[in-house]
């Protein structure tokens, strides 16, 4: 499958949307009454968070398709989806701690349910690569990784529910703005930023798939043209090949 097709248009759309989003953040969205300028981090932190979580669930869905069809390409798609979601998750954690430091003076606060749930999810998905790496047989690796992706993808919403409930009555003021109180201009800015970050995720996913697919085709071509022994056997790795 050609992953490069449409990639340029997608990348341009992403760049455009994110630029517009940042412009809205700094020139259009009003200052928050409570947190002032600090609140602007919200417009990058929340879209990163939501995209990462959706990415993990997306990875789970792709893993399910892999198990159902047995076609290895779905495992590669699942791997890349989870990989990207992990990167976006790291971004979420970084922006979240900066927000916590600016708002509360501490680099980490347990009172924010988003951050806490995120930490748990990241701790879980951080085991994805070690798990893959510790299974040498490639077919089994793909299969077990897909099982992991499905179970952990289902885990994400449950985890958020549990953590949110656990912290509901402990701290009255939390970092996240409740969705219902958001004025229109802020909501629009958030929406545009959401779309931009989501587009970024899709673009990077496609980009990574194109790179992987190209490398695989080069290897396959080498095998085809020069015979089986001209290709070095792949080293043990966590990535599907």
């Amino acid at each position: 499958m050609m992953y490069g097709r449409g990639l340029r248009g997608l990348a341009l759309a992403t760049a455009f949307t994110i630029t517009v989003a940042f412009a809205l953040v700094f020139f259009y969205a009003p200052l928050d009454a409570n947190q002032g300028f600090i609140q602007k981090i919200f417009y990058i932190h929340v879209p990163l968070a939501i995209t990462a979580l959706c990415g993990f669930v997306f990875g789970g869905v792709l893993g399910a398709i892999h198990l159902r069809t047995g076609d290895r390409k779905w495992d590669i798609r699942s791997y890349v989806a989870i990989h990207m979601a992990l990167i976006f998750g790291v971004g979420t954690l970084f922006t979240g701690t900066i927000w916590a430091k600016a708002s509360w003076g501490h680099w980490w606060v347990w009172s924010d349910p988003t951050l806490t749930s995120f930490l748990i999810v990241m701790l879980l998905f951080a085991t994805y690569q070690p798990l893959r790496f510790s299974i040498e047989d490639p077919e089994r690796q793909s299969r077990y990784a897909s099982v992991f992706a499905i179970v952990c993808g289902a885990f994400v919403p449950l985890n958020f529910l549990a953590v949110r409930l656990a912290q509901a009555y402990v701290h009255p003021r939390v970092l996240t703005l409740t969705g219902g109180n958001l004025p229109g201009s802020m909501r629009l800015t958030l929406l545009v930023s959401m779309v931009g970050i989501a587009l970024l995720y899709v673009t990077l996913w496609k980009y990574e798939m194109a790179a992987k697919s190209t490398r695989m085709q080069v290897r396959a071509l080498r095998r085809l043209l020069l015979g089986e022994d001209s290709v070095a056997p792949p080293k043990r790795s966590a990535a599907p090949s």
Partner: protein
């Protein structure tokens, strides 16, 4: 209802640094990823070049026919390495 802060939580010059930090972290992550992809792209390009060279080498050996393992047949390789690839 005025949404403009009467007294922002942090004075602007202090708050600005944190906000800038957050957005810079985001930018850094994206750019680091681009750099990693650039390295991968370079590697793929190199693999393709090698592949092309090896295929041409193999074709040349088959065209010459007689002795594919003749060491003198390999002398042409250095010429091919300098061949520009479009």
């Amino acid at each position: 209802m005025s949404l403009f802060a009467v007294a922002p939580a942090l004075p602007l010059h202090a708050a600005g640094k944190y906000v800038a930090g957050a957005y810079i972290v985001f930018l850094a992550i994206v750019l680091i990823y681009v750099a990693i992809m650039a390295t991968r792209l370079a590697r793929t390009e190199r693999e393709l070049t090698e592949l092309r060279r090896d295929v041409e080498e193999r074709r040349r050996q088959e065209a010459e026919g007689s002795d594919p393992s003749d060491p003198s047949a390999r002398s042409g390789r250095s010429d091919r390495e300098r061949e520009p690839v479009a």
